[in-house]
């Protein structure tokens, strides 16, 4: 059996690394979503509306 005490840094490092990744992914996804929603809100505030806003379809090139 591998001695455990010497390997705590490897175990802790793995979990901390993945925790940073999880938090980083959440932060990136939230930031990206917020940025796009703000841009969309600014466009709508400027009076720009999508051509298809009144219809049910958002794209017409689908089969």
């Amino acid at each position: 059996m591998i001695g455990d005490a010497a390997h705590i840094p490897f175990i802790a490092g793995s979990y901390v690394g993945v925790a940073v990744l999880v938090v980083g992914l959440l932060a990136y996804v939230a930031w990206d979503s917020l940025r796009v929603k703000r841009k969309l809100a600014a466009l709508e505030k400027a009076g720009i509306r999508r051509r298809s806003a009144d219809s049910t379809s958002t794209r017409t090139d689908t089969p």
């Binding site: 591998i2 793995s14 996804v29 841009k39 466009l43 720009i48 090139d61 089969p63």
Partner: protein
């Protein structure tokens, strides 16, 4: 039925319509996120407190509970992207390239985590952080493929054109997935062989499998949550781009 009757789209087409997708996923996003958080908490409890050490590796086995889920996701995400690539090329489905674009950074992150945790697991058990063997090299190639796909997406202004080119690249890159999976059987490697998906069943005791499966579920739910949020963002981004173009055309006139 008259010849002019409009063919109604089936339920799948309706669910996957961008506008409909935004509507129904609004009710799915938060339950998925909260579910993932709860399962993560249970998984971490089992990983650290409610499971024994391995008879050979001792507590180093606990790295498996985050390494294997990330490795599973690194391939699952690519599978999702390959299915989306088929959707783009065969059916020209409007959400297929959105799904591909949303998944690529997530897949890259999970693959990087796989390499990172594997490297930290390898040092005490194999005596090295890295070895150019089949499994590790093919996983590194997967990371490079993900990064290449992200770069391709960013190099095109026309996202529909980018979608078709990325779809072809994604399908070509899919050849790496069976290579990763079978690398431990095809070549001599430091990496252990398959110990869960075997003909005779898992080669691990239930006490180690329980935290592993809980963490697999937690990471899979986490990916589903992120994927849906990213797809929603991408749909809104394309909407904003379309509106910006519309505004620019109006200004020119």
């Amino acid at each position: 039925m008259s010849a002019t009757a409009v063919k109604q789209p089936n339920w799948f087409a309706r669910l996957a319509h961008p506008g409909q997708f935004l509507a129904w996923t609004r009710f799915v996003v938060w339950p998925l996120g909260i579910g993932a958080a709860i399962v993560f908490a249970i998984g971490l409890y089992f990983s650290f407190y409610a499971s024994p050490g391995d008879y050979q590796m001792g507590d180093m086995v606990r790295v498996m509970y985050i390494h294997v889920p990330n490795a599973w996701l690194s391939m699952l995400v690519y599978g999702v992207m390959a299915a989306a690539a088929l959707g783009t090329l065969v059916w020209r489905h409007p959400l297929a390239d959105v799904a591909n674009k949303a998944a690529a950074p997530l897949g890259a992150a999970f693959t990087a985590a796989t390499l990172f945790t594997g490297s930290l697991w390898g040092r005490p058990t194999w005596g090295t952080f890295w070895e150019w063997d089949g499994r590790m090299t093919s996983e590194l190639v997967l990371l490079l493929i993900y990064l290449g796909i992200i770069a391709l997406w960013r190099s095109f202004d026309d996202q529909l054109k980018a979608g078709r080119i990325v779809a072809i690249v994604t399908l070509v890159g899919a050849i790496n997935i069976p290579i990763i999976h079978y690398s431990v059987e095809w070549w001599n490697t430091l990496h252990q062989g398959s110990s869960i998906l075997t003909a005779s069943g898992p080669r691990m005791p239930i006490s180690l499998l329980t935290p592993l499966f809980i963490m697999l579920l937690a990471f899979t739910l986490f990916f589903a949550f992120l994927q849906i949020v990213q797809m929603r963002t991408e749909i809104l981004r394309r909407r904003a781009q379309s509106m910006s173009r519309q505004a620019a055309q109006g200004a020119v006139r």
